[in-house]
Amino acid sequence: MGMSNSTAPLIEIRGLTFYRGDRAIFDNVDLDVARGKVTVIMGPSGTGKTTLLRLIGGQLRPDAGTICIDGQEVTTLSRRALYQLRKRMGMLFQSGALLTDITVHENVAFPLREHTKLSESMIRNLVLMKLEAVGLRGARDLMPSELSGGMARRVAMARAIALDPMMIMYDEPFTGQDPISMGVLVSLIRKLNDAMGLTSIVVSHDVAEATAIADHIYLISDGKVVEHGSPEQLKQSASPWVAQFLNGEPDGPVPFHFAAGNYLDDLLTEKRDVK
């Protein structure tokens, strides 16, 4: 990390456009992720939050626009350079994505074994340190199928920080958690971010948790950034859309329905897929 760019955003997204078929998931989106901060991306289900993380990780290529990570343009990187960059990014999938045929210990050791030539005892110590950081050192010999959903996510976190990355992306870390493990995850994300000097991106639609850990929040919907700012700024936003989302009202400017044709026409038409 050079001194000169230590205040520049770690990730700069400009004019991002991405289509699935004819549908624009992102339409000319600009977004910054500040270094060392926790940035939360919020939005209704199906707006493309997971898609955004995959675009940042280079698993999907945008139709237009640039994604610049620590000075490198992801969209034009060679495969080799992209893999090099990914070693410095951790990602937590919605499902945890642990390897199901090996133990917790081996899961956390996996990136170390793949990318380093450390001795067996070094790997063991590192794995124990990472597991200790997420409070699961005692679970090291369990198989992933023996973990609860919350524990699996914490193991995935330990794995994501195994190579000491510069940033980590969390896809919906809070869904399906009881209030206690939700609280554990919230404080863990914050703690890891600050203690390891990480930059974190958290995708979520749990308003309370997200506002509790966010330094900066982006609200996206219908392929656009609707609003962004610190949690306080958003709470004071005049936009009815933001108010609806943050207060969880079922209908309002945000439609409840996936885009569809006229309901009555649909009911009256005999065959479904006549175009």
């Binding site: 990780g57 698993q59 893999y83 990914r86 999938f93 499902s95 642990l98 199901t100 793949e114 990318h115």
Partner: protein, 259 residues
């Protein structure tokens, strides 16, 4: 009407696309060979679960097929007073045809379907995506070792099948039906040719090994990432492998033995 034409066109294009992707995928598997050899433990692990664990079914099937050949062959040959040639008949049928073909069919059912299901489930549970994000290429780390283990196992299993089958024929012919053991072996020895018969059989089994393993890993890797998608991919592996093996067997036989 126009809709039908459109649909036909669309499905033709998408299946051609799939075929194209399959071939590119095949190239990736071939170029991953050095990586696979460098990470030998990954390969041996797969050789165990694909090859060694298929051994029992191959052993038992080979024995029964050989015994049936012994019985049927004896009944036919005795009409011509040629029952001493039973050994030759059993050995040639096995080495040229039944060894490679039946082994490939069993292999598709035992190992191929398991490969597809395993890789497909890893995809459905985002384990492959997760690996990519950890900067580990899932084709090199997961798919290629399984493919190459299949390619290596298949000819060995076919050889075992044929050898056991000959013993099965011996048990029935010599043990049960009372053919002279000396005639059984001594007629077989000069009439089963190393180049003409055995080598051609080995070539067949290698071709089948490549094709079945390729179909199995590709179906898994390309499966729709849902439980239904994986189950359909598994079925496709078995059906497509069987058709490919039988079709290729005809072509290879025509090329090799069809003057």
């Amino acid at each position: 009407m126009l809709n039908k034409v459109q649909q036909l066109g669309r499905s033709t294009i998408s299946s051609l696309e799939r075929l194209g992707r399959g071939h590119l995928f095949f190239l990736q598997l071939l170029t991953a060979l050095p990586t696979v050899l460098l990470r030998f433990p990954l390969l041996t692990q797969q050789l165990f679960s694909i090859g060694v664990l298929s051994f029992l079914i191959i052993f038992v099937s080979g024995l029964f097929v050989g015994m049936v050949l012994g019985l049927q062959g004896y009944n036919t040959l005795i009409d011509f007073g040629a029952e001493e040639s039973l050994g030759v008949m059993v050995a040639l049928s096995l080495v040229r045809e039944l060894g490679p073909v039946v082994t490939a069919l069993l292999f598709a059912g035992r190992a191929g379907s398991a490969l597809t299901a395993e890789i497909g489930l890893m995809k459905a549970t985002e384990q492959l995506s997760g690996m990519e994000m950890m900067a580990v290429d899932p084709i090199k780390r997961i798919v290629a070792p399984r493919f190459w283990a299949g390619v290596i196992s298949m000819p060995l299993l076919a050889a075992i099948f044929s050898a056991i089958g000959v013993i099965g024929g011996y048990i029935v012919g010599v043990g049960l039906l009372g053919i002279d053991a000396g005639a059984f072996w001594s007629q077989m020895q000069p009439r089963v040719d190393l180049g003409e018969d055995i080598l051609n059989g080995v070539i067949k089994s290698i071709v089948f090994g490549v094709v079945v393993s390729w179909i199995a890993v590709y179906e898994g890797y390309d499966a729709t990432p849902t439980s239904e998608g994986v189950s359909r991919a598994t079925t496709r592996t078995v059906v497509h492998s069987a058709l490919a093996v039988l079709g290729l067997d005809f072509m290879l036989t025509a090329l090799m033995f069809g003057e």
